[in-house]
């Protein structure tokens, strides 16, 4: 019990710290006075404050939301597929969303956030529906590795189509930059359109979390306790759609957060999803914010996309887990 509370408080404090740090650090290190002014007594004429309010603040908030969203969606998927190696990226959901966006980009050079979201959503839903269909056919008794392989197949499928669209419509490398994942182009406008969706998703996830724990006991047990497993799964997939779809629309296709964060978090708070989901949320947010700051500091003034940083951490982590045999 104490481990759990300890975890929540420590991570929370770290998160707040990280949030402030992300306002201060970047290609240019801002002064603390600028930061506090930008937040509380904003002076539009001050350049230093402008930087913070218009560029860094939306990025920071976006990072928090998206980090939480990806992590929670990963936890959800792992919960409903009883698959410890599930993640929205590995299962092709991200690539699906990315494809939707690519199509949108191809049709209308520089789409508005709303249009982008629609595209991203449609793409993500295609993946989600497919995965749901396939795994429900064998009542989610599909071995984890098969779902992952399916996801890999879907990923490469969507990636192939995205590539060809990119070639055909001569979409420039900027779109690839976006694909790879980062908060670089995050604006208030985008944030305003999307944050309600993410918040809704997070709320939904927290509400459905006790049911997920029941699911993990096995379908038969869940049914004998009066639950309807498939309904729970459908709802969860919907929430994943909300979370992953909007996050990809904001920052591009980022994998591994959904995979790593729940694993790490389970170590501290146990396997009850009532705790795993919120814990994944704040830890995911922390993770992403830190990765975002790092991405700005690694090779200034160039930005290394956040997606790279996360993958560079995620893959070795995953490989080590595999080698140790804990996956």
């Amino acid at each position: 019990m104490t481990k759990r509370n300890y975890f929540f408080s420590v991570v929370f404090i770290l998160l707040i710290t990280a949030m402030f740090l992300s306002l201060r650090y970047g290609a240019v290190t801002s002064k603390w006075t600028d930061v506090s002014q930008a937040l509380f007594h904003f002076d539009p004429a001050n350049q230093g404050e402008q930087l913070i309010r218009y560029l860094r603040l939306p990025r920071m908030i976006g990072a928090v939301l998206v980090g939480a969203a990806f992590a929670i969606s990963g936890a959800l998927i792992q919960g409903i597929t009883s698959n410890p190696i599930a993640d929205s990226g590995l299962l092709g959901i991200n690539s699906g969303a990315g494809l939707g966006l690519a199509i949108v980009f191809a049709i209308s050079g520089n789409p508005s956030p709303t249009v982008g979201i629609v595209g991203s959503f449609l793409g993500a839903s295609v993946s989600i529906v497919l995965i749901y269909l396939v795994s429900s056919k064998v009542s989610f008794g599909l071995s984890p590795i098969r779902i992952v392989l399916l996801g890999a197949a879907l990923s490469s499928f969507f990636a192939a189509i995205s590539q060809s669209i990119s070639l055909l419509f001569d979409l420039n490398q900027d779109m690839t930059f976006w694909f790879v994942g980062g908060t670089a182009n995050l604006s208030w406008a985008q944030l305003q359109t999307i944050y309600p969706l993410i918040l809704l998703g997070i709320l939904g996830a927290c509400l459905i979390s006790p049911q997920i724990t029941l699911l993990s006991l096995g379908d038969d047990t869940a049914i004998s306790l009066g639950k309807k497993p498939n309904r729970i799964r459908r709802l969860s997939m919907l929430i994943v759609l909300l979370l992953a779809g909007s996050s990809v629309a904001l920052v591009g296709a980022i994998s591994f957060i959904g995979l790593m964060v729940p694993h790490i978090v389970r170590f501290f708070v146990g396997h009850d999803y009532r705790y795993v989901i919120p814990a994944s949320g704040i830890f995911g947010a922390l993770f992403f914010v830190v990765a975002d700051v790092v991405s700005r500091l690694v090779a200034p003034p160039l930005e290394t996309p956040t997606g790279v940083i996360i993958t560079l951490i995620g893959v070795p982590f995953l490989l080590l887990q595999i080698r140790k045999g804990s996956l």
Binding site: L90, V138, A152, A153, F157, A160, I161, V180, G325
Partner: protein, 327 residues
Amino acid sequence: MRKRIGWLSLFLLLITGGILSLTVGTIPLNLNDLLHVFQGTATTSQQLIVFDFRFPRLLVSIVAGMGLAISGYLFQTITHNDLADPGILGINAGAGLTVLIYLGFFATGESSWYLPLIACGGSFIATGLVYYFGRQSERITPNRLLLAGVAVNAGISALTLIGTIRVSKDSYQFVTAWLAGTIWGTTWQHVFLLLPWVIVLLPLILLRGRSLEVLELGDEVAVGLGVKLKRTQLFFLVCAVCLAAVSVSIAGSISFIGLIAPHIARQLTGRKNNQTLVMSALIGGVLLLFSDILARIILPSGEMAAGIIVSLIGAPYFILQLLKKSN
């Protein structure tokens, strides 16, 4: 009976495909022209087109398709998992990244003689990584290998995507095209780089065909029947990697052939090993051949990537198969 129809149709398809491949393109030829070309009585430009461009391309697509199909068949048998595709082990990704690094930072000129060799090297490094992490006390544990493959793949793909942002526009175009599976290696040089592998390895594999069959019964049963498990697995694994790596290095990053060709072959021939293997190879060759033909004619101007066509056919077929399976 099914079997016989299968062989017959494959044979016919090969011939038709061959003719189509030679006659179709930006400068169309008809059968008459083709006859003249073979008799040596056509115009020099027609001779050039057929013998210097289309014929080698025809051979490359067939042989690469065969290589990928055989590789897929071997992987699926060793890993006891019919969802395995050579791409899963990082072959495509490894080659892609190396090609990118080479082109982006060391040289220009896609027709570089070294490119296939470099790509191959990249594949081996990637597979080595996967093997290292997926290995468990000398035995090849299928699930771990596949998992490690997915992880390494994801990592390399991410790095590659990053890389494509940083390189010149030309390199970007080339690598993207390569990643999409454009058959770029279309000179006789490339044919001779590719052909020996298949010609040498295929008979060796067929000679050990029975061991492969017995492996399908299960690892322990195989040992009980006298199969030298470690050695046999390693032999087939190395063959599979070699075949896939060379095919991919010359024909571009193509997925799904190794996945679906064996499936289709098995449906037609049951599990009589050597027959199924050869049939897979032919199906793979036909698949890639026709995908390439389609890729050349489907757009009003310019070409599409063969790999995309394969994905467009392959992925839905694969997903349908999964949906049908009641496991």
